[in-house]
């Protein structure tokens, strides 16, 4: 038999869960990632700081008061290694740094220091709004932009960081609940907006001729993908299966899938054994909808179109783009962040 305290506690938990569910449902129409509004969590899906490229990172506090953030560089190919740091931004302040060198703090304390990314980094940057004590808050204050610069030729590709907005409820612990319903892990349900159910990328078919460069040239597309579920604290890599649904100019559909563990910088030519090449698609361009496999968590993505003067030759130009998105992912995503005291 339950004690009165336990009953009250149980009833309170039930009511809280129902309340969280009701509000989550009420806000579901707007619960998606954003690159156009300030958010509580920012994911820069592609950061490169190696001998071939550097990344200019811009991080803004869009709020009227100070903002504290906890950020982590996460190296994809090198086994999910995270380098975390705390940063404070003044009201309305934007900080800029190069991933390869970081930045020093101003002597008067008006600008914060940022460490350099680990040498050879290819991966993502994750930033979470926290309070002065380092606890996540769900306040929508951050916005970001990144520009990847190829050192050899100065080619640039810029994109906006992908934001997840606070959902209104936050228990301020290191387990960040991204979309979804109340569960044992996420007792009050979503603390942050869900990741999208689908990303829509318009792109040239891989291997299509670049009309401006003429015969013999080729176009290709890369997708930097990071799962929305990330255990940064314990260094546990998450995985997601990405389903590709491609429609060519003739309204024909093609499908493929690819497994992404921790982070990936996929060449479309490598997806589905060449299913997305111009030879297979039969048209010079296509629209691809990327979805997590049924029941799996979401992911974020940024696309890059590359231009080659000759097929298989070096990239002579690239342009990055934030794809459009649709709906909220079915799966419950969780980001677990380390505690980094400012």
């Amino acid at each position: 038999m339950l004690s009165l305290h336990a009953l009250t506690s149980h009833r309170a938990r039930l009511a809280l869960a129902m309340l969280a569910s009701a509000v989550a449902l009420a806000t579901a129409a707007n619960a998606q990632t954003t690159t156009e509004r300030a958010a509580s969590i920012l994911i820069y899906p592609k950061i490169v700081a190696d001998s071939s490229a550097d990344t200019i990172v811009q991080l803004s506090n869009a709020g009227a008061g100070r903002a504290n953030a906890q950020c982590s560089y996460i190296d994809g190919p090198q086994g999910w290694q995270a380098t975390s740091f705390a940063i404070e931004l003044q009201a309305g302040q934007e900080l800029l740094w190069n991933a390869s060198r970081g930045r020093a703090a101003a002597e008067d304390g008006t600008t914060a220091a940022v460490p350099a990314a680990p040498a050879g980094l290819r991966g993502e940057l994750l930033c979470v709004v926290v309070d002065a004590g380092g606890a996540p808050t769900g306040d929508d204050r951050l916005a970001g932009h990144a520009t990847v610069v190829t050192l050899a030729d100065g080619e640039v590709a810029g994109y906006a960081a992908v934001g997840l907005r606070g959902a209104g409820f936050n228990d301020n612990d290191e387990v960040l609940c991204i979309g979804g319903q109340p569960s044992d892990t996420c007792f009050i349900g979503a603390e942050y907006d869900a990741c999208p159910a689908a990303w829509i990328v318009t792109h040239p078919a891989d291997g299509a001729v670049d009309e401006q460069l003429g015969a013999g040239s080729a176009l290709s597309t890369r997708l930097a993908i990071a799962p929305c579920s990330q255990n940064v604290r314990d260094g546990v890599a998450a995985a997601v299966t990405v389903d590709f649904d491609v429609t060519n100019a003739f309204e024909q559909h093609f499908t493929a899938s690819s497994e992404v563990t921790c982070w990936a910088d996929l060449a479309l030519a490598d997806v589905g054994s060449g299913a997305l090449t111009v030879e297979t698609l039969g048209s010079d361009y296509a629209t691809t909808t990327l979805r997590p496999a049924a029941g799996q968590g979401g992911f974020v993505v940024v696309a890059e179109t590359e231009r080659h003067a000759s097929a298989g030759g070096p990239v002579v130009s690239r342009a990055a783009l934030n794809p459009q998105r649709s709906g909220a992912a079915d799966g419950d995503d969780v980001i677990i962040v380390p505690t980094v005291r400012p």
């Binding site: 009250t8 009833r11 309170a12 009511a15 809280l16 309340l19 009701a22 009420a26 806000t27 129409a29 707007n30 998606q32 990632t33 954003t34 690159t35 156009e36 509004r37 300030a38 550097d54 200019i56 803004s60 869009a62 309305g92 302040q93 934007e94 800029l96 190069n98 390869s100 060198r101 600008t111 916005a143 520009t147 610069v149 050192l151 030729d153 100065g154 640039v156 810029g158 906006a160 209104g168 318009t202 401006q212 460069l213 429609t247 100019a249 003739f250 309204e251 048209s283 010079d284 361009y285 296509a286 179109t305 003067a309 130009s317 690239r318 342009a319 783009l321 934030n322 459009q324 649709s326």
Partner: protein
């Protein structure tokens, strides 16, 4: 059984929060399918090796017609044109603005063609709205678009997503005029504020772990009023521009802008770029979030920027990246997009140089001389029936027909 007081209070809060959550208003967005797409920057200049690749996708499960309008920043009647195409379900279309698309991929299911931009060089906007097959606008939030501005020397490209306005489901009386925001909104309202995270002009950026690579930056900014009135000489807006450097210091400037303004960032506030508040040395830091706030009693403004990174030791080594604006707030007053374009002189009276209602032999000869370049167009503007600034063979034929059969 009564809930404890604390839970009752929580439920009361929920009762307030839930309706608020449901009434959140839609902002224009480049992130989701929409009914109206605005491409603020389309550039075509064959001489300079510049063209823009436009991708337009119908994400819906049904066929969708789309009506599009090109408007050059000059706002001259000859520099505006429109077209209507029908896309099949989920179909993408891709074309170069400088060439258009003479035939669409699926004969029979697709309809219409896409012309090249009306003039070259062209530097202006493209608006596309979901429509019925006859071109009458009809909201359907299924369109997404991407523009890629390409340069050939050196090879370079920068992509941005079109800014989309979702339909509200309402329909105003004038089908040719789209109402953005306001009490009778047919489409989402324009934002009260746009923010561009920019590297300022003449900023020097060190790159690489050893800072061995340097680049200087400059930005081309495209501002387009949300309202569009090409048949009335173009819309206008007044905007307040604010630069906030990394030390929290602010510089601001207020100016009016025409319907389309495509300019160097450092020429927004002065004719002398070195004196601009958008110059890194004057702003006090190499970067800033540039805030663009239209006057609340006027119309809204949309923005996109292309930042160029140039090797200081080789000015020809320039590469560009697009920067999209973050947006917030709803403009309180509606913006109106008038799809009607100025009507050029009717083709049936082509060649009637003196306006007497008939075409005489001397007028035909004059028309041929203009086509050959031996007489100026100003000698007989009526021969240029489509207002393109030149005389084509079809216009000479139309003039001959008018001479034979009357105007």
């Amino acid at each position: 059984m009564r809930l404890p007081r604390g839970l009752r209070a929580l439920c009361a809060v929920a009762a307030i929060v839930m309706p608020l959550a449901g009434t959140a208003r839609a902002l224009p967005s480049s992130e989701a399918p929409a009914s109206l797409l605005v491409f603020p920057l389309v550039s075509v200049d064959a001489t300079a090796g510049v063209d823009t690749v436009v991708q337009l996708t119908n994400t819906g499960a049904a066929a969708q017609s789309v009506r599009c309008v090109y408007i050059d920043a000059s706002l001259s009647a000859a520099a505006e044109s429109g077209f209507v195409v029908t896309l099949t379900p989920a179909q993408p279309l891709r074309w170069r603005a400088g060439a258009g698309l003479a035939s669409l991929p699926i004969a029979g299911d697709n309809s219409g063609t896409i012309p090249a931009v009306p003039v070259t060089p062209f530097s202006g906007t493209l608006r596309c709205v979901s429509a019925q097959t006859d071109g009458t606008p009809s909201a359907a939030d299924v369109l997404i678009g991407v523009a890629t501005v390409e340069h050939s020397a050196p090879v370079d490209s920068a992509s941005y997503a079109a800014i989309g306005f979702a339909g509200t489901g309402a329909s105003a009386d004038a089908p040719e005029v789209l109402v953005l925001g306001g009490a009778q909104a047919e489409y989402a309202a324009c934002p009260t504020q746009s923010e561009l995270p920019l590297l300022l002009d003449d900023a020097v950026i060190d790159l690489g772990a050893d800072s061995a690579v340097q680049r200087t930056t400059s930005t081309l900014i495209a501002l387009a009023t949300c309202s569009s009135r090409p048949s009335l000489g173009g819309a206008q807006a007044t905007v307040n521009l604010v630069v906030s450097n990394e030390f929290g210091q602010e510089l601001s400037f207020t100016r009016s802008i025409p319907e389309i303004l495509i300019t160097d960032l450092s020429r927004l506030d002065t004719a002398v770029p070195q004196q601009s508040m958008f110059n890194a040395a004057n702003a006090g830091s190499p970067h800033s979030v540039v805030t663009i706030s239209p006057n609340s009693s006027g119309g809204g403004v949309l923005a996109v920027a292309l930042t160029a990174f140039t090797d200081p030791s080789d000015a020809s080594a320039t590469h560009r990246a697009a920067v999209q604006a973050r947006v917030s707030g709803d403009q309180p007053l509606p913006d109106l997009v008038d799809l009607a374009l100025p009507t050029p002189a009717p083709l049936s009276c082509a060649g009637d140089c003196n306006g007497d209602g008939s075409v005489a032999i001397n007028e035909l000869i004059l028309g041929v001389n203009i086509a050959l370049g031996t007489s100026p167009l100003s000698a007989c503007a009526a021969i240029d029936a489509d207002g393109s600034g030149s005389v084509a063979i079809n216009e000479l034929i139309a003039a001959v027909n008018a001479a034979l059969t009357g105007c």
